[in-house]
């Protein structure tokens, strides 16, 4: 036992994946205690929502999880639809599933890529980001924006698919699994990456459940829980897909199942494109100014980070009385002090990366 040192990491540090400050107590190079200090990106989105009409809140939800904006759009719209009793046309549901599975690929590419960068394999980041760029371009063709889409709206989606978009998605989905196999060999077959990831930051399954983690963080520990299958919403029951599970709950499993989830997403997109029928993309007869009856509603979806829920309270006015976001990134980040204990400072960076936090959603 040597004298303990306190090291501040962040709030501006490339390995914190955003603006998080981590106060690390070190014994030599070994982490004794790691305390994340959040709130550097607290923009008060939940409070702002109280001063916006129901439709005006949608652009704010874009900026929650900015790596996967479609999820927050969808989770919010589902809560509004439940609150106001809106029925969504079937084509809109299919389009939502397609864009959200594409978003999962885009988001996981960022997560896997940064795992590569954290372990010294920057090339893998380049390969992953090339795939992400394809998806971002598809979204740009769809709604005109590369990151903040504002596409999923209460009652449907903002506009129908542009001409030739389905074919572009098909050709992307056709090449994606092979690219994932290449990335798997490149990153997870690499001796250095395996040595850096295996056995680091082990999260036991019962702890994962107790701390409310979800998504790839929980599934990496073998927790068999995916809202798309276990609390089916939208048209997900019509698709045939697997939920990849990890065994050891270490950084390797958490990072690698993201890769398999991308392959499963491709399967879902393929099936959804096959079943896609022409029709309206927005519920008819919606008033311009939604004013649901007094009451509350909660709905959740499986985002790239886990269970993303939105709770809305209405007092009968055209503005939400209260909006609360159940953020998976926040819950996943909460296990960081447990995981980091006893590992070296360099492993701490890998552990943060494997949790894949997005601070827009953590701080809200």
């Amino acid at each position: 036992m040597t004298e303990e040192t306190i090291v501040n990491i962040g709030p501006s540090h490339p390995s914190t994946h955003g603006v998080c400050r981590i106060v690390v107590t070190l014994d030599g190079e070994v982490v004794v205690k790691a305390e994340p200090i959040i709130g550097h990106l607290h923009r008060g989105i939940e409070k702002m929502a109280e001063n916006r009409t129901y439709l005006q809140v949608v652009p704010l939800t874009d900026r929650l999880d900015y790596v996967g904006s479609m999820y927050a759009n969808w989770a919010y719209c589902r809560a509004v639809e439940r609150l106001a009793g809106i029925r969504v046309p079937e084509r809109a549901e299919y389009i939502r599933v397609i864009v959200c599975e594409l978003q999962r690929i885009a988001s996981h590419m960022m997560g896997i890529g940064s795992t590569g960068a954290d372990t010294g394999a920057f090339t893998a980041f380049m390969y992953a980001f090339a795939q992400r760029d394809h998806v971002v371009e598809l979204f740009e063709a769809l709604c005109g924006s590369r990151l903040t889409y504002n596409y999923v709206r209460p009652g449907g989606v903002s506009m129908d698919l542009p001409d030739g978009w389905v074919e572009q998605v098909r050709s992307f989905v056709a090449q994606h699994p092979a690219a994932m196999m290449e990335l798997d060999t490149l990153l997870f077959g690499n001796v250095i990456a395996r040595a850096r990831l295996k056995g680091v930051g082990v999260l036991p399954a019962d702890t994962a459940v107790a701390w409310g983690t979800s998504g790839p963080t929980a599934r990496g520990s073998g927790v068999n829980w995916d809202l798309r299958r276990d609390d089916p919403y939208s048209v997900y029951p019509r698709f045939d897909f697997e939920v990849p599970l990890g065994e050891n709950g270490d950084c390797y499993d958490r990072a690698r199942i993201r890769l398999w989830e991308c392959v499963e997403s491709c399967k879902i997109i393929d099936q959804a494109l096959d079943q896609l029928e022409p029709g309206p993309v927005k519920a008819e007869g919606l008033p311009r100014l939604l004013a649901p009856r007094p009451g509350d509603a909660y709905d959740h979806i499986e985002s790239a980070r886990g269970s993303l829920g939105v709770y809305l309270v209405s007092d009968g006015s055209p503005r939400p009385y209260r909006m609360k976001v159940r953020s998976p990134a926040f819950c996943n980040l909460s296990v960081l002090p447990l995981l980091a204990e006893g590992h070296t400072l360099s492993d701490l960076v890998v552990i943060i990366g494997s949790l894949d936090p997005v601070f827009g959603e953590v701080d809200r």
């Binding site: 709030p11 990106l41 008060g44 989105i45 704010l60 980001f129 990151l147």
Partner: protein
């Protein structure tokens, strides 16, 4: 900057030194403009576009703009994303750690003016120019990587007309009476809670 300062004093004594000074300016401007290393102050959504800009598709390395996480390596700070009251002291501190000459690019509406978070929120600084001297503003929420590319090229134009003579340089920000405009934001940034 002691070297440049001494040089300026020496050249003033030289008869006809203006010609030499002009050509030295050209050399300095040329070398500074061609390797504007970026300090990526990415906090929110715009940071994703900043990352995309330096990756293989847009490849900013070919402009000599390499992102460096250490402020002491950098020439230009790219403020990409929302700056909150809690974050502002850290941004200011990192800016102060950058060596002269230095420039600031405000990328995206949040850094320009607060953007979508201008109204109804209590925690967001309404534009990074409340506490930093901004050279180039990029509009967009978020701006495309091409916009950032344009900003770098415009900044290069600005750098290429600068002078190294004492008192004439626009880039030597620490010689200014105060960094940035003495507006409300500066007081907030200085007195903000670092958490």
């Amino acid at each position: 900057m002691a070297f440049v300062d001494d040089l300026g004093a020496a050249l003033d004594k030289t008869p006809g030194g203006g010609i030499i000074l002009t050509s030295l300016d050209a050399v300095m401007d040329w070398s500074r403009g061609k390797s504007l290393w970026m300090m990526p102050m990415g906090t929110a959504c715009c940071a994703m576009e900043l990352i995309a800009a330096s990756f293989s598709r847009f490849d900013f390395d070919r402009h000599g703009s390499i992102p460096r996480p250490d402020p002491r390596h950098c020439d230009v700070m790219v403020v990409a994303g929302t700056i909150t009251r809690k974050m502002a002291p850290a941004v200011k501190r990192l800016y102060d750690q950058m060596p002269d000459p230095k420039w600031v690019i405000a990328m995206g509406n949040c850094a320009v003016s607060g953007g979508i978070f201008y109204y109804d929120t209590y925690s967001v600084i309404r534009g990074v120019d409340e506490f930093l001297p901004v050279d180039v503003y990029i509009a967009g929420c978020p701006p495309r990587p091409e916009s950032l590319q344009d900003a770098i090229l415009r900044l290069r134009e600005q750098v290429s007309t600068d002078s190294i003579a004492p008192g004439k340089s626009r880039a030597l920000k620490s010689e200014l009476p105060s960094s940035g405009s003495p507006r409300k934001g500066e007081r907030d940034a200085a007195g903000g809670d670092v958490g």
